[in-house]
């Protein structure tokens, strides 16, 4: 009986973590979708030569000043970038935790800090990076 409980508890923890990882991945996709929509909107706003524009908030259409809309969108973009980055960082930790639970060795080099742009360039110029 005790064993069964243990197994169940273990399976629950694995499934929970795995579900979290999947949810995070979906979240990133949704955020990126919004980021792309915002980007398109910003691009269209710079092209428009009117003073005001329409924007949707929920199911409401609001006529708003062009400048303020732009500022709103830009603020939203910044926030989105931060959130996506945060999710990506957390995802790494979660993946490692999951592998730990599943008795698999951690992914090699997952937690490394990436080389700088210049260093990467040098390495790939030298033919070390395919």
């Amino acid at each position: 009986m005790n064993d069964q409980e243990k197994v169940l508890k273990y399976l629950v923890s694995v499934e929970k973590l795995a579900e979290e990882i999947l949810a995070d991945k979906r979240e990133i996709v949704l955020l990126d979708k919004r980021r792309n929509h915002n980007r398109e909107a910003l691009r269209d706003l710079t092209k428009s030569n009117q003073q005001k524009c329409w924007m949707t908030v929920g199911s409401m259409l609001i006529k708003n000043n062009l400048e303020t809309t732009k500022n709103l969108l830009e603020a939203d973009q910044r926030q989105l970038n931060i959130e996506i980055n945060k999710l990506r960082c957390d995802l790494k930790v979660k993946v490692n935790n999951l592998r730990d639970l599943e008795m698999q060795p951690p992914v090699p080099g997952l937690m490394l800090v990436p080389l700088s742009q210049k260093e990467t360039q040098g390495m790939s110029n030298a033919g070390l990076f395919p």
Partner: protein, 466 residues
């Protein structure tokens, strides 16, 4: 058991491209189970249980990074599987751990000093893991619209629509992006990646959904799935490079081409020091991880006293690889001195080593090995032929018996038989002498050979030779 091992061998071979069949190409690992107990026949390994178990312990220690700076000596008679165990160790370590294999006599070269050759070998065995990160936009092209201003001149405007399975979006493009899109001949239905930092466009292939667009496609048309998830991805690639590779690309006289031509010559010690400090800096910043690998020196008795003292010192460095040596000598003279020492290796170095002995194979084990070799060389052998071959192996040597496999299978092919029979083996046994019979022959007819000590009709024979 053997059939399972054989099935694995076959499987691996069908995946990788066909390689030359080498003496140890049948070895896929150490053949240990999870608790490091050796299986009787597995992954091409047969018998030698104690040595394999010891190698398994060493393997575990290497994986945990515990034995860097120490050495292992595989000692045993010729043909008892020392090189096989080292190869198995290399296979078991996986492709991520650097493994350098060299013969003791390789260090003697006119172009390079002995210590330089050893240093290069040591640095080839130390890897660093670094990560490359890039932000890319990956998607299937839905449409490309390029508008040229009337009259040819003026700025062009373009719009690119990309999609993944989850989203679709437009990008406005400037003149430069339009140029590179045109250069890459990107059209609707292609799956492309755009590097955000450099703007480089890379065509991955055509989307499967567009596979029926044309009736005839070129051979190079590659079909890929439409990418999933977000459009703007972060791509992280972890690379493992050896210190030697970094040395070579930084030694200015040669440039990186030396990496491929293989002729690296000597590398200045200042360069090595610079690289050491750079790598140390990266490790401090968390940009790099050290992977101490394995340096395998076969025929270690061929090294001389200078090499041994150099190794002794090099092992003490904090970034030393695990050095595995193999020797088939007993108590013999250390090269470069007049002193005798066990295995031809100085006592102070022996003291640092863990010595793993290998022992001669039993009759049954020899039969298994020959069987595995037959499978490796795609050669069907009848049971009695294998028995004869095993007998040959016990009486002469395993290597000689393995040579007979290929030759006998050729003879069998000549008479259009699918299976090698006992007669084929007997025929090649009479065609090719083993070392013992050759020696006997020489002793019998030594008077008729040139420059023999017995003093015979040498001049007369020279005429015959011409």
């Amino acid at each position: 058991m053997a059939s399972i091992a054989a099935a694995q061998v076959q499987e691996v071979r069908s995946i990788t491209r066909i390689e030359r069949i080498g003496a140890h190409s049948h070895i896929r690992g150490l053949g240990l189970d999870d608790s490091l107990e050796p299986r009787a026949v597995s992954q091409g390994m047969v018998g030698q249980k104690m040595a394999r178990k010891a190698a398994g312990v060493v393997l575990q220690m290497i994986r945990e990074g515990k034995i860097a700076g120490r050495a292992v000596l595989l000692a045993g008679q010729p043909g008892t599987g020392k090189t096989a165990i080292a190869m198995g160790l290399a296979q078991a370590l996986g492709p991520d751990t650097p493994f350098t294999s060299m013969a003791g006599s390789e260090i003697f070269s006119l172009e390079m000093s002995k210590t330089e050759a050893l240093t290069q070998a040591i640095r080839k065995s130390i890897g660093i893991r670094i990560k490359e990160e890039s932000e890319i936009i990956e998607g299937e092209v839905v449409e490309v619209v390029i508008e040229r201003a009337a009259g040819g001149g003026g700025a062009r405007v373009g719009r690119l629509t990309l999609k993944t399975t989850d989203m679709e979006t437009n990008y406005d493009m400037g003149a430069k992006m339009i140029d590179s899109l045109l250069k890459e001949k990107v059209q609707a239905g292609d799956v492309i990646t755009i590097d955000k930092a450099t703007g480089k466009i890379n065509k991955l292939g055509r989307s499967f959904a567009r596979a029926r667009d044309y009736d005839a496609t070129g051979q190079q048309a590659r079909f890929v799935q439409c990418p999933e998830g977000e459009l703007q991805k972060r791509k992280e690639v972890v690379h493992t490079v050896t210190l030697h590779e970094v040395d070579v690309i930084n030694s200015r006289t040669h440039g990186f081409l030396a990496l491929f031509s293989g002729d690296t010559g000597e590398i200045k010690s200042e360069i090595r020091e610079q690289i050491n400090s750079k790598v140390a800096e990266w490790r401090e910043e968390g940009k790099a991880e050290m992977i101490p690998g394995v340096l395998f020196i076969d025929e270690a008795h061929m090294l001389d006293i200078e090499c041994f003292s150099f190794l002794n010192r090099a092992l003490e460095s904090e970034t030393a690889p695990v050095v595995i040596m193999a020797t088939n000598r007993g108590i013999t003279r250390i090269r470069g001195t007049n002193y005798q020492s066990p295995h031809g290796i100085p006592l102070d170095l022996l003291d640092r080593m863990i010595i793993v002995p290998t022992s001669p194979y039993s009759h049954q084990e020899l039969r298994e090995i020959l069987n595995i070799r037959c499978e490796e060389e795609d050669c069907q052998m009848s049971n009695d032929a294998l028995t004869v071959l095993t007998r040959v192996a016990t009486e002469t040597s395993l290597r000689y018996a393995i040579q007979l496999i290929t030759t006998a299978s050729l003879v069998a092919k000549r008479r259009k038989a699918t299976e090698v029979s006992m007669e084929d083996v007997k025929k090649v046994y009479s065609l090719f002498l083993d070392e013992h019979r050759s020696e006997q022959f020489l002793k019998e007819y030594q008077d008729e050979f040139m420059f023999n000590d017995g003093g015979g009709d040498a001049p007369q024979l020279m005429e015959v030779a011409q």
